[in-house]
Symmetry: C2
Subunit: 212 residues, 2 copies
Amino acid sequence: MADQARDKNDARLTERGRATRNRILRAATDMMYVRGVAATTLDDVRTASGTSKSQLYRHYPDKDALMRDVVALQASEVLEWHQQYLTRLKSLRGLERWRDALVERVALREGAYGCPLGSLASELADQDEGIRKTLAQHFEEWEGLLRAGLERARDSGALRPDADPAALATGMMAAVQGGYLLAQTARDPGPMKISLDMAIDHIRAYAADEGS
Amino acid sequence: MADQARDKNDARLTERGRATRNRILRAATDMMYVRGVAATTLDDVRTASGTSKSQLYRHYPDKDALMRDVVALQASEVLEWHQQYLTRLKSLRGLERWRDALVERVALREGAYGCPLGSLASELADQDEGIRKTLAQHFEEWEGLLRAGLERARDSGALRPDADPAALATGMMAAVQGGYLLAQTARDPGPMKISLDMAIDHIRAYAADEGS
DNA sequence: TCCAAAAAGAACCTTGAAGTCCATAATTGG
DNA sequence: CCAATTATGGACTTCAAGGTTCTTTTTGGA
């Protein structure tokens, strides 16, 4: 009882305990991404992480708690990846570099598995209101990276003053998610590239001087 | 054994039997859309359709077979709905009417549940290769409606000759799917409208005479 | 009206996944 | 180095979901 509360945040875990916990979370995150949350059993996680049932139980009261940590980890990794490209964004050129990296990433697995956050959202949004809200916040943060970049581009004169960074960022997010889904279904990164090109062209229409 | 083969296509079923089969399929389709495929139990379907276990078994050898019919029904209904707006499409004006109807449809349920086909795709694409291919074909058919409409628009002079209907249709499909996912996660149809507006604007950039 | 075939209903079985518990091994502090 | 605490392994229990089978009811044609 006191144990569970303590273990939730790994405050008083030894090095070894924390390593086990991380192995569990890593295995669960990877499997839930590839197979889906419902299709991933705790026994799968146990095997893949090289641990045992009682360890799952020690570190997570139930599958839901594990799932919530999976969402958090996946979100932090996705955000971190995009930050890498977007925190200093202020031109169309930067947006194109980001697009190329993203398309490359999707091409590496031939489109499969979809967006690490998007597929969680699709599976869980209408099932657990708490997780839905959490995911909505993560999406907002992600969109915020784009919006901030576009604002910098506008303020620095790369985009016209009448450009609407918020709407452009939302459109770009939809292009990303739609591209992911079409790529996943077709097992082909092609649609992702076309989709992102569309969204960038749409932004380019607000470029200060015509042409790229 | 002969029974199963016979029942698969409702060739030699009586009126009553066909009605039961339809009730089962309708209930399964609705529930799997709202709750997801994995979260829908056969017992749920049995209750919702007012039938019993042996009837499920009689009409469908297993859950997978039911699932496949659900995909087919959902696809035919989605396609039919979009055909209604897209078969005679040949101008931006028509595209805008379609967009308004789609946004209205999403707004009715406050964004929830996502795309009837897209959420099936996200859940099943990496789980069952056969279903993935089927869904890819349905998406292609859907995209084909858009592409054909854009080709008519181009041939009738509404779009410039250098417009690429295939790429524009793919971009539009991504906008639809991305819009659905963001609307589902945010429980707000707003992103769907912004996303479709972006895709239409992108097409408008290829309009023969400037402006709409 | 009666009979054969089809459909419905409900009890039953099997499997697999989540969750529980306890004995043993490892680790850490005094 | 010993005792106390923490981590581990694996067996066990429970439960729910899928799937099966049998009996009863309904239907439709001779």
